[in-house]
Symmetry: C2
DNA sequence: GTGTACATGTAAAGTGTTACATGATTTC
DNA sequence: GAAATCATGTAACACTTTACATGTACAC
């Protein structure tokens, strides 16, 4: 899903500024299955405005930088519906962690153990932050999606905790790293 | 992880042609956490050869197109080790499916139900194909990684199966799509 | 005969990230 | 006084996909 459609979808849930969209993607309900940087969000919003999919209202704020709040137009809503009518593509998961494990022959067992333990901590933190998000989530869909994220994080955590020891043992048994 | 490093890592597991690398990424043990197209693999291999990280041997085959088999050099192995010494970045998961669910307000309950059911089938297929891969996997690391993939697929499948009904119910209860 | 697998490669186009630029206010 | 939060935006660069180009062999 490109940033353009992502913006359209987020604006379908409520008006927002570019800054707020970035926050939702980086820390909100979207954080575990999408990504976008300012460098792609701001140009997208400009283009969406030019094309009439969103409108933009300017707000001067006291003690804060000015703000531009974007709203979805009827045309924008239609475009989104049209986009969502098509089958979603398959999930794309990229993991440098798993790649590093697979290339383990070039890595020492100590290093592997370390990587796995760090990863376990990260999963624990991620679970806590998702559980916090759950309290703020309002729609049934966002509950469902956040709980999905928690379930996945727990599954990864569980797998690592239960198989880490045997992995290290086997790597050592497979012989000293050439 | 860029395609360059991915090629380096795959070649660390054994010599291969560009075509074979593509297959490993598209269907092999790498399939659920990385991606690369011919358009990025071939240029990467050319550059890696120019820079001395890999060497290339040409094979004429009977009844088959010619083949170029690449091998990692000592310099390449060092570069890979160096790369793997650095902390792996966080996983990146992108899911059009979850995005579609979150934008559910713009989608009918029937459509959602359909999407979830299709997704359940896909998970089942993916699990089967990963289990097949398991039979061919040799190193302890690849076993570990493939089993990790299976565990994640099962967790997603399980979550969808157990929460699908309540999601649909709640969406309907939340009122007809505006 | 039609499609898939084998096999390599290029060029254009698209998409995205990173780093930069700017600047007030609040929190530690 | 340093760092984070709020807030928008551009430009250079990196990376990737898509579409094209080419051709044999085998299975159905």
């Amino acid at each position: 899903m490109d940033v353009r459609t992502l913006c359209l979808g987020i604006l379908a849930l409520g008006d927002a500024s570019g800054y707020e969209i970035k926050k939702m993607v980086a820390e909100g309900s979207f954080s575990f299955f999408s990504e976008a940087s300012y460098g792609s969000i701001y140009p997208s919003l400009t283009r969406l405005t030019e094309e009439g999919f969103v409108t933009c209202e300017f707000f001067s704020q006291d003690k804060r930088p000015d703000k531009k709040i974007y709203s979805l137009t009827e045309k924008g809503r239609l475009a989104l519906t049209e986009e969502l009518r098509r089958d979603p593509g398959p999930d794309k998961n990229r993991s440098e962690f798993l790649a590093a494990l697979l290339f383990a022959e070039a890595v020492s067992p100590d290093r592997i153990q370390n990587l796995v333990e760090e990863r376990i901590d990260e999963h624990r933190m991620k679970i806590r932050s998702l559980q916090k998000l759950l309290d703020e989530a309002m729609s049934p869909a966002s509950h469902f999606v956040i709980n999905y994220g928690i379930a996945m994080q727990k599954a990864a955590l569980d797998y690592l905790e239960h198989h880490q020891a045997s992995l290290i043992k086997k790597i050592i048994a497979a012989g000293p790293t050439e």
